[in-house]
Chain length 243, copies 4
DNA sequence: TATGAATGAGGTTTCATTCAT
DNA sequence: TATGAATGAAACCTCATTCAT
């Protein structure tokens, strides 16, 4: 033998470590009492993971990438989060709350519903611009079953927020009477798309992009609309669902 | 050469019985001569993989899932595709071409640019509704670096298609003079969002959803618009980029 | 479904092909009656495979590489060879015979044993230079159990060829009386090493390298040697083996 | 940055608990902080893999073979080495260093250059005899492109070590003036060949084999040589390269 | 004879997760 | 709390070989 007697090789003197069998982590979130230091660590993990997820994608970012990037051990991760999945869901939840808060702050105290809609759109676009990483995560979350539900319920909140103002505008005759939910969804679609291409892709000025979105959506919902606008749409409202 | 002059290798006096080897395919794609049987297999793989990718997501669908689903061996997959990634890109490319073809077929011979836009939107939404699986793949492709480029170039084609009609409409004074690219992007954003929620999520009638999209976008681009519409947007055009 | 009804996917209409179970090819060489055309194909396969094996190594050259490189189907390969292993062994065998033939042709009719040794060395080096691919295969064959035996028996022939001349030289008192087998092996070692580095690695003139080898080996075996040379070696001859 | 300024990530106020991430290791090698336990494991893996590689060959030894042989999980391998290839290169590098160390230890303090050469040869042969597994790996490494470079640079060191002594011997007129590099290579060729056949193949006494090699090489380089030795070689020196 | 299609064991590698220390 | 070591299922992919056509 060369470096070690053969017998010594086969029967290692080292005891075995590691998991015994495929124990799956129970789903659900961890709730641990955290010291201030612990809170900072947790925030660090979230911040860095968000960055990595956005950069490379959820699946291409391993837990090892995250802890290595912060220079900590694997145990740290599982001390604060019960799984990678839980971390992701946590990021989603927090972010959606943050976006909503910013949107609501922007419209607080504004009387005019149309103005509220405009300000809401603008706040939304600016938030997305500022939290570009999170916008990417939202996009991903929509594409995978287990995260979809969380995403949709979050989006539903935004939609219903917008709906309120749209309904008020309709009641006041400021815009034509079209399905407010559809209008809200359309607004979200425009916001995401233009933010994606113009801010993420071309690094344009967020205020400018917000203007574009507002401009398209103002017209789209029929603000300042003349007679005849949206007629076909109004006719369509109330149509039945398939199947 | 050792046993035979190199030239003797390449050009044997024996009749060529197969393809002349040689690397072809500049973009990583396999290009094999396929028998009818082979073509059928390949189509089967694409169809089944598309379904699985849409259902579970790209990463959660393994090559094993695909070949097991078809009841064939693993080698079959790699006979037709050089990698899972290549298959995905192939699906993207083909789909985008298909969508464009359908859109162009819908507007062929129509004089009025505004009408062309409407028909294009409608055709797009109906295609998305019909190929819901592919719509999901598009969403995913946008979220991962290696597929993003392919997606964006495909989307760029759709955008520039729409731009042509928008520009013509602007020239004819049918809609206000706003950045046609932004308008095209906004239309795409609305189409995706409403299709996603209403057709994929709630299984609504695609024609109805198409109506919703057309309605919002007609107004959004300013069809039949009055003075004063889009003023702020027009002012914003030409603003500089961030950073 | 998108491209194919789901039911059609799972149950392919294509019958299954391929091997049924792990049947191992019986070892041994194929002996088929070959037409002239068949002989040419076989030679083509050998030539191309030799080239590829030398370039990339035996394990990194797949049967597919070989048949693709010649633009033929897989069946061709297995028509002429029962396995990749058999092909390799066949190349070894043929080559060793070729080298020996060239070496013997070079010394035919030469009286002086020392001259024969020199000419043999020179012929060997030139053969190795000309068949550099095969030299590489020889090196590889030595490193893997299943090919080793074939290699060693082939080398043994060369050694015993050389031994004859060395013994005659010793008998004639032309060189000191040292173990002729060891001398023959040493000559082979020098030939291989210098050919490897100078011809394969630095593309030097084979004649020049042959001179270097001859020069070292002439002295090494003690041609023109003075008294006292090789004394310690002579003492060592006859020493017992280990174990 | 999205949630935390980027700088905040890199330099947290929390004490650094592990290595600061960051790619190190310019040549693909892993450089992990290892505990004593880890070092032992790594050494075990190297020892066992060396044994297996030598026994069955690099390609016929799978990572599974290695970890199974040690009774550990597959992940262990990739904890210590980034790939099978890296492990192999690591073995090569370490071994070459080890051989050189032993050779240099053997000649330290010896005045006579010819004596140094003899002792160096002897030390080399004895090292090869003692590390027969590694000798086999060296042979294999020469046959495959990706390992060749590492091998050659390692061998170049040995050659240049020997060259120094040969040049000194030439200057002192102890041996004829022939290309010292060629002489060094020839010595290596003889050492490998005789060790291979006599020690690995026939299990002879290493000391005896070392005597054989020294004897042949002493004469080969012309120690104690008379006039007229090496004339043709001297003439050849300086000849041009092919092509 | 020759081909393209198919097989499937087995190769390397990754990675979420666990746990002794 | 934190770490490094370990697990092992499972992922992607390769390839010698077989065989219907």
């Amino acid at each position: 033998m060369d470096l070690l007697p053969r017998s010594a090789m086969a029967s290692s003197s080292l005891p075995r470590l590691g998991p015994v069998a495929g124990k799956v982590a129970s789903f659900g979130q961890m709730s641990r009492k955290l010291t201030p230091r612990g809170k900072e660590r947790r925030a660090q993990l979230i911040a860095f993971a968000t960055h990595e997820f956005a950069e490379k994608g959820y699946h291409l970012t391993s837990v090892a990438d995250i802890v290595d990037g912060l220079g900590v051990g694997k145990g740290v991760f599982y001390w604060y989060f019960s799984s990678k999945e839980e971390l992701f869901v946590e990021i989603m939840r927090t972010s959606q709350r943050g976006m909503r808060r910013q949107q609501q702050a922007a419209i607080t105290g504004v009387e005019d519903p149309v103005k509220r809609i405009e300000l809401g759109i603008r706040a939304g676009v600016l938030w997305l611009a500022e939290h570009n990483d999170l916008r990417k995560l939202f996009e991903f979350a929509r594409t995978e079953g287990r995260f979809r539900e969380a995403m949709q319920s979050g989006q539903a909140v935004l939609v219903s927020d917008a709906q309120v103002h749209l309904e008020e505008a309709i009641e006041q005759g400021r815009i034509p009477d079209r399905d407010p939910e559809a209008l809200a969804l359309a607004i979200i679609g425009v916001s995401n798309q233009l933010t994606n291409v113009y801010i993420d892709g071309r690094n344009m000025n967020p205020e400018f992009v917000a203007d574009l979105v507002v401009s398209f959506c103002r017209d789209g919902i029929g603000v300042g609309g003349c007679d005849g606008i949206g007629v076909s749409a109004r006719d369509a409202i109330g149509a039945s669902q398939r199947d």
